[in-house]
């Protein structure tokens, strides 16, 4: 397959116009000793063969009834979302550098920023980050810049992958990271009080946390503020924002997390949708793109990328971040999804919680232990003897019964972290329980 429209004759004519005898002459600056290497790739395929090949690979993947969350959530994506983002004026455009021919992208980002502000209770949201984990890392770098301090406290209930990414970023920027232990599924507030002092730039809390439990963000924010630190509230399940008090209303200064739940597929873990929002006083320190409303020459409303002096293409090594390409199309998916689902998002969040509660209670009735008895949203931890073995047997029977979490929490062996969304029905849960009784 080839996507080159010029024929051999075209190339000959063009070479003659350029004043060379062949294309090879155009590569004269490359030392001959290293030019035209042998590159071993599979035989080129036609489009039809390529599709057959990819389908063959894809069929090695299995699709199960999945009760797995842990950072990625299988929510239904309405047909409207796929249909509209498939319009190639959206997806074959680049960053909207020329606003006069990019109003579609720009208006959608502006709407996205609005939705994220409403969901998080914050004043400003940017146009997206790579994913929840890097959004958190960037939020923390922002807090370090704003406070001039470089010690960071992060709750042990923050998604372990997010803590790992944060740890890499903070190592690179020579900042210190300390982990606040958890107790009964929640950030140990007493330990936090011992660990915090006036050298702390920020305290990070995730709610609902990795175990699905709803944290007391307000108290943690108070504790941070009492020591001149910022509170960063993060999340992996954005749907919870529709039901639970917003990070903004609970006193967080910066909020960040994963927006995949809004109209984006699990997609083997990417692309995702990093969300970053903050209070207006951080307007000039927030990383990433921002779209603002303005007017055109005729006085009509128009949108444009703004406050770009924060960004790398202007400020270079003094920029607020190196981010350039973000996750624009995923943000567009989220925007269309939130427009379509609208305020029904609250009902959807309730149903997720109800299904998870139902699943949890059925498992408890079977004799499984609910490890943390605090309120949760749509994820929870259960303990059962031989958890891994049971889980493996279920995999062979078409169910993914959560994931083991003892790699990160060795004390939680024989525990499974389950996530339940509307993609699972009451019926599925009943069938699962029936299956569990027989194996």
């Amino acid at each position: 397959m080839s996507f080159l429209p010029n024929s051999d004759d075209d190339i000959l004519a063009m070479c003659s116009e350029i004043g060379v005898s062949s294309i090879e002459d155009l590569f004269c600056d490359i030392p001959a000793s290293i030019k035209n290497p042998t590159i071993q790739l599979p035989q080129a395929l036609s489009e039809q063969e390529a599709l057959t090949h990819i389908l063959h690979i894809g069929n090695a993947n299995e699709q199960l009834c999945s009760l797995v969350g842990a950072g990625i959530y299988n929510h239904y994506v309405p047909a409207v979302v796929d249909h509209l983002v498939s319009r190639s004026e959206f997806y074959t455009a680049y960053t909207p550098y020329q606003p006069e021919i990019s109003q579609g992208t720009l208006a959608a980002i502006f709407e996205f920023q609005t939705f994220i502000c409403r969901l998080t209770g914050m004043d400003i949201a940017n146009a997206s980050m790579y994913d929840g984990a890097t959004a958190l890392a960037e939020a923390v770098l922002m807090a370090i810049r704003s406070t001039g301090k470089n010690r960071v406290l992060c709750s042990a209930t923050v998604h372990p992958h997010y803590r790992d990414v944060l740890s890499a970023y903070l190592w690179a920027s020579d900042a210190q990271l300390a982990i606040v232990p958890y107790k009964q599924g929640l950030t140990d507030y007493e330990q936090l009080s011992h660990m915090i002092d006036d050298n702390v730039a920020c305290v990070i809390v995730q709610s609902p946390n990795y175990f699905g439990a709803v944290e007391d963000v307000a108290s943690i924010a108070d504790s941070a503020h009492n020591h001149g630190a910022l509170c960063i509230a993060t999340f992996t399940e954005a749907l919870s924002l529709a039901l639970l008090k917003s990070p903004g209303s609970l006193g967080a200064d910066i909020t960040c997390g994963e927006g995949q739940s809004f109209g984006n597929y699990p997609a083997c873990g990417g692309p995702l949708l990093g969300i970053l929002a903050c209070r207006s006083k951080f307007m000039r320190t927030i990383p990433g793109r921002l779209v603002g409303k303005t007017v055109d020459e005729e006085g009509r409303d128009a949108f444009v990328m703004t406050l770009q002096t924060r960004e790398q293409h202007i400020r270079r090594q003094r920029a607020t971040s190196n981010i350039c390409t973000n996750e624009g199309l995923c943000a567009l998916r989220a925007t269309i999804y939130l427009s379509l689902v609208g305020n029904k998002l609250i009902e959807l969040a309730r149903i997720n919680h109800a299904l998870a509660s139902y699943c949890c209670s059925r498992l408890v009735a079977l004799g499984y232990e609910r490890v943390f008895t605090v309120p949760f949203f749509n994820e929870f931890v259960i303990r059962v003897d031989n958890a891994k073995e049971i889980r493996n047997r279920l995999l062979d029977n078409g169910y993914a019964l959560g994931i083991s979490i003892d790699t990160y929490y060795p004390e939680l062996n024989d525990c499974l972290l389950l996530g339940v969304t509307e993609s699972v029905s009451n019926n599925d849960i009943d069938n699962l329980v029936e299956l569990l009784q027989t194996i």
Binding site: L4, I23, A50, N74, R118, R300, N322, L329
Partner: protein
């Protein structure tokens, strides 16, 4: 310009959610629940018409030539998007990928190998989600490499023609940026490089070909100079499209590099993302790559046991769906097809340069690679780059990258890519010549351009002076 909020009217939203028979989820105390959320209340028809309308206000590669320099806005094959919507991949959860996603891991493993073949690097990591993310990850690796060796090196060298992401990535890792000037031919100034090189230099980051669209003729010499001082050589692969299949970065002396799958490997830019910025390294840097790496035993698995690794840099494994598109593209082109990509891209750029160089200033007018830079010097009536760019929109072309690289005053960086036909290049050149004529005869036309676009010139100053960053009812 309408936003979705203008369609808001109570009762329009008829979206329905699957029934749930057991509403027992009242476990969350009322004090934790919110009652202050309003998103928007619109109908499905509103949504479809509104976003369809918004799409029509956009210009993409499918609308016309998009010669945005260093962004490689080539045609995005439609089959890529078909495979990226397959439920076998789209519905796959990353947390169970070793158990239920062997096909997905197989593809990632193969792509790692293919990128190694194409670049000559020893190992690849697919984790970085964008070019700048790949740069950052690479600078972390450079830092870790010297830390492990017990060497304190705090300087990274960057040419003055570099993308802004280079110095920004360097700064995020606590290194100091030392800028190296270009010489009058547009190559790295070797004398200045010699002066800057010492035992504190960790590495040099070089975009190859550089942002002037030139292949540095001293590339092997630069690599030797760096290596003789124990420094590493980093390749910003943003411009790989010019040389893919023609020369391997490893043979040019590079130790570490990133590749933009959304440029060279045809995945769409999505209005600003998602992209993917995998990084490749020579053998001695492989232990420092981020986790996980995809490996193969009797099954594919995620390798986390890498004690020298810089750690994790993405929530999961990177932008899988972008990788799948790039993999499909490489499978369709093969090695000859990829080499032809570079050859046609370079031919197109030189053809256009030749057509324009008698009418516009080309500050570094020599055989170029996939792009070249002109400027606004000597245009009639003091017409500027920005005015030329806006007028091009009226003629149905996207503008080039403007005012970059910074070393060319009033730069217009033009990258036609290999997927434009000669006739389209001729039409673009004609438009440029017409604009130059207009500049002489009727400059007012250019001052008020664009006039055929959905909105007229947008007031960016107002937007920055009085920021309105969200809709308020």
């Amino acid at each position: 310009m309408q936003t979705i909020f203008l369609f808001h009217k109570k009762g329009k939203n008829k979206y329905s959610i699957p029934a749930c028979d057991s509403i027992q989820g009242d476990e969350i105390p009322r004090s934790m629940l919110r009652d202050d959320l309003t998103l928007v209340d619109v109908s499905e028809v509103d949504v479809v018409r509104h976003y369809r309308k918004l799409s029509s206000l956009n210009f993409g590669v499918d609308n016309g030539m998009y010669p945005l320099g260093s962004c490689t806005m080539k045609y995005n094959p439609k089959i890529n998007d078909v495979v990226a919507m397959l439920p076998q991949f789209a519905m796959q959860h990353p947390a169970t990928i070793e158990e239920t996603g062997q096909g997905a891991l197989h593809m990632m493993y193969q792509l790692q190998q293919m990128l190694c073949q194409i670049t000559g690097m020893h190992n690849f990591s697919l984790s970085p989600a964008a070019g700048a993310h790949g740069e950052l990850t690479s600078v972390m690796i450079i830092k870790k490499y010297f830390e492990t060796k017990g060497e304190k090196r705090n300087i990274l060298l960057i040419p003055d023609s570099a993308h802004g992401t280079n110095p920004a990535s360097v700064a995020m890792c606590g290194f100091e940026v030392k800028e190296i000037p270009s010489d009058s031919d547009g190559d790295v100034d070797l004398t200045k490089l010699e002066d800057a090189l010492n035992e504190h230099v960790a590495a040099m980051m070089l975009t190859s070909p550089n942002t002037l669209g030139l292949f540095d003729r001293n590339i092997l010499k630069i690599a030797d100079m760096l290596h003789s001082k124990g420094a590493l050589f980093y390749c910003d692969g943003a411009n790989l499209n010019a040389v893919v299949g023609k020369v391997r970065p490893v043979d040019m002396g590079f130790d570490i590099m990133h590749v933009n799958l959304h440029k060279t490997f045809s995945t769409p830019h999505g209005g600003g993302g998602p992209g993917a910025g995998p990084i490749g390294v020579v053998e001695k840097l492989a232990p420092f790559l981020p986790v996980p790496i995809i490996e193969k035993a009797d099954r594919y698995y995620l390798q986390y046991n890498r004690p020298l690794s810089i750690g994790r840099i993405h929530s999961f494994f990177g932008n899988f769906m972008v990788m799948l598109r790039a993999y499909t593209y490489i499978m369709m082109l093969g090695s000859d097809g990829l080499r032809n990509v570079a050859e046609h891209a370079v031919c197109n750029a030189n053809y256009l340069r030749t057509k324009l160089c008698n009418h516009f200033q080309v500050p570094y007018n020599r055989i170029c690679m996939h792009e070249f830079v002109i400027n606004d010097e000597g245009l009639p009536n003091g017409i500027t780059t920005n005015e030329v760019a806006k007028r091009l929109l009226d003629y149905g072309f996207h503008a080039p990258t403007v005012y970059f690289p910074l070393i060319v005053h009033g730069a217009m960086m033009i990258e036609p890519t290999e997927t434009e036909h000669r006739d389209t290049l001729d039409a673009f050149a004609d438009a440029m010549l017409t604009i130059k004529k207009e500049a002489a005869q009727n400059p007012a036309l250019l001052k008020k351009a664009p006039v055929t676009t959905p909105v007229r010139k947008v007031d960016a100053v107002l937007a920055a002076r009085k920021p309105v960053l969200k809709w308020d009812d």
